[in-house]
């Protein structure tokens, strides 16, 4: 098996890793699909803090084909903003030469050039193939296709597909340990026949990770061992009742660095600049969402709304699932959101008259010039409408994979029978979600936090009492990679400068009667002793300001059949935390309904936007 030499990392920075207490300045970058983002962190008064950021177009593909150009441009912006010198002619200056020259540590994440693109294969689509998909997604990959014996395609169609895809890596799983080996070897033979070429690098061997039946290893080695860089790891479904994705994920991480990244344009240089491995952006984001769930012992849904992809993370009862929805993004794949969601679903979020063709042409123009930003409020509202649909679609995709293991015998409980709960459904119960947090340029750059709040609420439709938070200036991936070597610094910056609390959303599950005047009654008891009573009509929203750092006790009485986590129609009390927006009372019902006529829909939408003071008044003059 031909292995490439491990990349040479920056030695100077490595010295600081041995003594993290000496680390005063940290520079982190994320090479995104569209934009490279540099973030500068510094120890001030003994605490690590975020200092400045810079951004520039990513340059991994033609005509530049050198990722470091974009990275240098982004860093140059930080230099301009701070006066701190980071760059010399060829590299990032490490170790630090003086107070304002050089850094102690440089780290980076990357999703440029499409990130890590993988194909996965298994035997049964809903069992080993699904586990393989979860393992690949868990490693931060984009899954281009899932091949399975029962996927309905004929062998020659699968061969053509494998040949056409040109993935960065293939993960092959299948069979339980000691079970039949025929099917997994058959799939290996299809891969062998297809002889897929890697996307990057003409002469290197495509990495294949085998994580299937251990008895099939000799046959797999015979089929794939000579023409691919084959890595064999423990079976990810050794028995049907167990999913063990960790070994496969670790090897994917290694192979990503050794085989894929080292062939991407300019990454040989970038790898030498940093003493630690480059991490896929979704892996960096995922680490931080996991850190939130672990630190506070809560169920979390996180989302990274990027230019090319929408990454959704759930940490539910300690179970971590990550999905990457390729081509659901806000820049060069924005028209794919239009295509997937449909014009009608997008326009339902727009409160002013807009011809369909005008909307489409605007989005197509954004697609071909993805680094542009809305200058006028109409354009901003349109982008936010697309974001809601990208979040909704990304979460739909996520729910398909966040579900119990298939192929396992289960005993149905009385409750399951009464609720008619199917095991195919996701195990995520939105009533049990404590926090929804978002990151990504569009959310971080929203001019008002209420806009982010509405995007998260409309995209995920939380029920019960759910806290909302967001990344302040998009630095979760940066902190994720930093946390691998300096968790203290990463958490300090995360808590003080990254996580912005938006507030709490209170929304009963279920649908009330149209025109119901009292769909939700709440009594808010503030810490200073003051009390506010509010009644919300069905289909309406209200906002009660509650500052960041403050808490309040809320008695909630939902409409008949409305559930806030205590059962249909039952009252409940919750302690909520404040934030930039405060307490959001959402009595629009779940699932969310829209008025039948266009005029009523717009009128209702304006009411929701006004209730949260989401946009400046001038928006309503054109509605």
């Amino acid at each position: 098996m031909a292995k490439q030499a491990k990349p040479q990392h920056d030695v100077a920075s490595s010295r600081f890793l041995a003594n993290p207490e000496n680390l005063d300045t940290i520079l982190a970058t994320d090479c995104g699909s569209t934009t490279s983002k540099a973030r500068f962190f510094k120890r001030l008064d003994g605490k690590y803090r975020f200092v400045a950021s810079g951004e520039a177009p990513t340059t991994v593909e033609a005509p530049f084909e050198d990722v470091t150009l974009g990275v240098r441009n982004a860093i140059r912006e930080v230099e301009e903003l701070t006066g701190h010198k980071f760059l010399d002619q060829n590299r990032i200056i490490t170790p630090r030469l003086s107070v304002d020259e050089g850094v102690d540590l440089y780290v980076t994440t990357s999703s440029a050039g499409g990130g890590l693109q993988m194909m996965v294969a298994g035997v049964v689509k809903s069992m080993t193939a699904e586990s393989a998909e979860r393992a690949a997604l868990g490693a931060g990959a984009i899954v281009m296709d899932v091949i399975a014996v029962d996927d309905g395609r004929r062998p020659y169609e699968k061969i053509e597909r494998i040949r056409y895809l040109r993935p960065d890596m293939i993960l092959l799983a299948g069979g339980t340990d000691g079970g039949t080996i025929t099917h997994v070897v058959e799939t290996a033979e299809l891969i062998e026949a297809a002889k897929p070429r890697p996307r990057l690098g003409v002469n290197f061997e495509l990495p294949i990770v085998f994580a299937g039946n251990k008895n099939a290893r000799p046959a797999i080695k015979r089929a794939l061992g000579t023409i691919f860089a084959l890595e064999v790891v423990d079976n990810l479904r050794p028995v049907l009742e167990l999913e063990n994705t960790e070994p496969a994920r670790n090897v994917i991480d290694e192979q990503f660095m050794e085989h894929v990244m080292s062939h991407a344009p300019g990454y040989d240089k970038l790898m030498k600049w940093t003493p630690i491995p480059i991490m896929p952006t979704p892996a960096g984001e995922g680490r931080m969402f996991q850190a939130i769930a672990e630190t506070y012992g809560i169920n979390v849904i996180g989302v990274g709304l990027g230019g090319a992809t929408t990454n959704v993370y759930s940490i539910y009862e300690s179970k971590f699932v990550r999905t990457v929805s390729a081509n659901l993004g806000m820049s060069y794949s924005i028209c794919n959101v239009l295509k997937e969601a449909g014009t009608k679903n997008l326009t339902r979020w727009i409160p002013f008259d807009l011809k369909e063709e005008d909307l489409r042409n605007r989005l197509y123009n954004k697609m071909i010039r993805p680094t542009t930003i809305p200058q006028e409020i109409e354009d901003l509202v349109i982008e936010h409408a697309v974001a809601r649909e990208a979040l909704r679609l990304g979460f739909e995709h996520h729910r398909l994979l966040a579900r119990p293991l298939r192929g396992v015998q289960r005993r149905r409980t009385i409750a399951d029978i009464f609720e008619q709960r199917a095991f195919e459904e996701t195990y995520i119960d939105m009533l049990q979600i404590d926090l929804i947090a978002g990151t990504g340029g569009l959310l971080s750059h929203a001019p008002r936090r209420a806009q982010s709040a509405l995007m998260l609420i409309d995209g995920f439709l939380p029920v019960g009492v759910t806290r909302l938070a967001q990344d302040s200036v998009f630095m979760m991936p940066h902190l994720g990679v930093l946390s691998t070597v300096h968790p203290k610094a990463a958490m300090e910056i995360f808590e003080k400068d990254c996580l912005v609390k938006i507030g709490a959303c209170i929304a009963p599950k279920g649908v009330g009667k149209a025109g119901l005047k009292s769909a939700m009654e709440v009594t808010v008891r503030f810490n200073d002793g003051s009390v506010i009573d509010e009644t919300v009509e069905f289909g309406a929203m209200k906002r009660i300001p509650l500052k960041e750092g403050e808490k309040a006790q809320v008695d909630i009485s939902p409409f008949k059949g409305g559930d806030i986590g205590r059962g249909p129609g039952k009252k409940g009390t919750a302690t909520v935390e404040g934030g930039a927006v405060g307490i959001i009372l959402d009595a629009r019902g779940r699932p969310l309904g829209f008025a039948d006529t266009d005029t009523e829909r717009k009128q209702k939408l304006v009411e929701w936007l006004k209730a949260l003071d989401a946009y400046p008044e001038k928006l309503y003059t054109i509605c």
């Binding site: 008064d45 050039g113 297809a194 046959a219 081509n327 042409n361 006028e376 901003l380």
Partner: protein, 404 residues
């Protein structure tokens, strides 16, 4: 609990701001990519095989656009046949029943394997599904793979010129002096043909009527937009390429038969390459682009609609080679300014976002401070003098430089 984000101390902010102001006043530029539109420049095209093969040209050699410069063979298509299941035998015995062994050639419908029962009285054959070579006989799965003959794959020069560099086993770089224009979006791959102006002015809409029979094999140039009928007629008439200012997205979908979701194009299986120079909607072609193309009416051109807007933008291109000018003469005359030099007062720009979408002008000021725009965002802006006389303020992200 999650702690609230705190701000830096007052002194730290003050110190930081002082440094920011000092730094920004000394240099007021940013990095903004732009579209190229050059009357004469050196164009280099690197032509590589997707897998190693043979390079057929040598350094310094003169080539035409159609000259094949490298060749390789890609493995043929594969057919699978589960012989064990067809013959009703155990999988581990598959090799034993094969009439053709691994590496042997086989014709379509030729017997591939044979199983005899009842002392040879009953025979069951497995026939080859395609002509090719037996690549693998698996005694684990009972599967037999037949691979068709290798498929030759050739790369041509795309543009006429000289071979400037050879990449052994991979390809070569071809160099020529040429006029070079980048579009904003295109579909369809490389095509060659002579340019034919069919619109009178850059604001004319290209209609079916304007496409006369003589446009067969040509690259037609229109003005503001091509109608759906014009595209259909161009296909029927055998037009090789079309260059226009804008396009309605519905017409694009109707031509392709599907909606484009991601701006990665160039591999569409369509009979003509379509390039738009400005954007979606009815947008007049930039006058300078139109006049430049007009100057080369009737000249041979190479075009490529491939667009890739992701981590390093690849835009569609129109190359009009100028064989009479040796590239050496241009070397040294080309602007040495690196792309990251960026915007400066006086830089010609095009505004690429509403509310001034498509407007042309020059940068008049690059204010240091962030400004609050209509969306309430605070961003870096520039002031521009538009060619229609208006003085406007726009986010720096919403302009592109015009490189001429």
């Amino acid at each position: 609990m999650v702690k609230s984000p705190r701000r830096l101390s007052r002194k730290a902010v003050h110190d930081l701001l002082a440094k920011v102001m000092e730094r920004m006043s000394s240099k007021g530029c940013c990095y903004t990519p732009g579209l190229k539109r050059k009357a004469t420049t050196i164009v280099q095209k690197t032509r590589r095989l997707p897998i190693p093969g043979e390079v057929l040209v040598s350094k310094g050699e003169k080539v035409e656009a159609d000259t094949i410069i490298a060749r390789t063979f890609i493995p043929g298509d594969v057919y699978t046949l589960n012989v064990a299941s067809l013959l009703g035998i155990d999988v581990w015995e598959t090799s034993k029943y094969m009439l053709k062994k691994e590496g042997e050639a086989v014709e379509k419908n030729e017997p591939l394997a044979l199983a005899k029962t009842f002392f040879g009285l009953f025979k069951r054959y497995a026939y080859a599904p395609a002509s090719g070579t037996v690549e693998r006989v698996s005694d684990v799965t009972g599967q037999v793979l037949i691979r068709e003959t290798q498929i030759p794959l050739e790369v041509d020069a795309y543009i006429p010129g000289r071979v400037a560099e050879i990449f052994p086993k991979e390809g070569a770089t071809i160099e020529t002096a040429a006029a070079f224009i980048q579009g904003i979006f295109g579909i369809g791959g490389e095509r060659k043909g002579s340019l034919m102006m069919v619109s009178e002015s850059p604001s004319d809409v290209l209609t079916a009527k304007q496409l006369v029979p003589g446009c067969k094999g040509k690259i037609v140039v229109g003005g503001a937009r091509a109608t759906n009928d014009a595209i259909k007629k161009a296909v029927k008439a055998g037009v090789k390429g079309m260059v226009v200012g804008g396009l309605d997205d519905n017409d694009l979908s109707s031509f392709l038969g599907y909606k484009i979701g991601v701006a990665i194009t160039g591999h569409e299986n369509i009979p003509l390459t379509l390039i738009i120079t400005e954007g979606f909607g009815e947008i007049a072609m930039s006058e300078k682009t139109f006049l430049l193309l007009k100057e080369f009416d009737g000249e041979q051109a190479s075009i490529n609609g491939a667009t890739q807007i992701r981590a390093g933008v690849l835009r569609p291109e129109i190359i009009i080679p100028k064989a009479s000018i040796p590239p050496e003469k241009l070397r040294g005359l080309e602007s040495k300014a690196p792309p990251e030099e960026g915007l400066l007062p006086g830089t010609p720009i095009r505004i690429i976002r509403e509310p001034y979408f498509g407007a042309l002008g020059v940068v008049s000021k690059l204010p240091i401070q962030l400004r609050t725009i209509g969306t309430e965002s605070s961003v870096r802006v520039l002031e521009a003098q538009l060619i229609d006389g208006r003085q406007v303020t726009v986010p720096r992200a919403n302009v592109e430089m015009i490189e001429e």
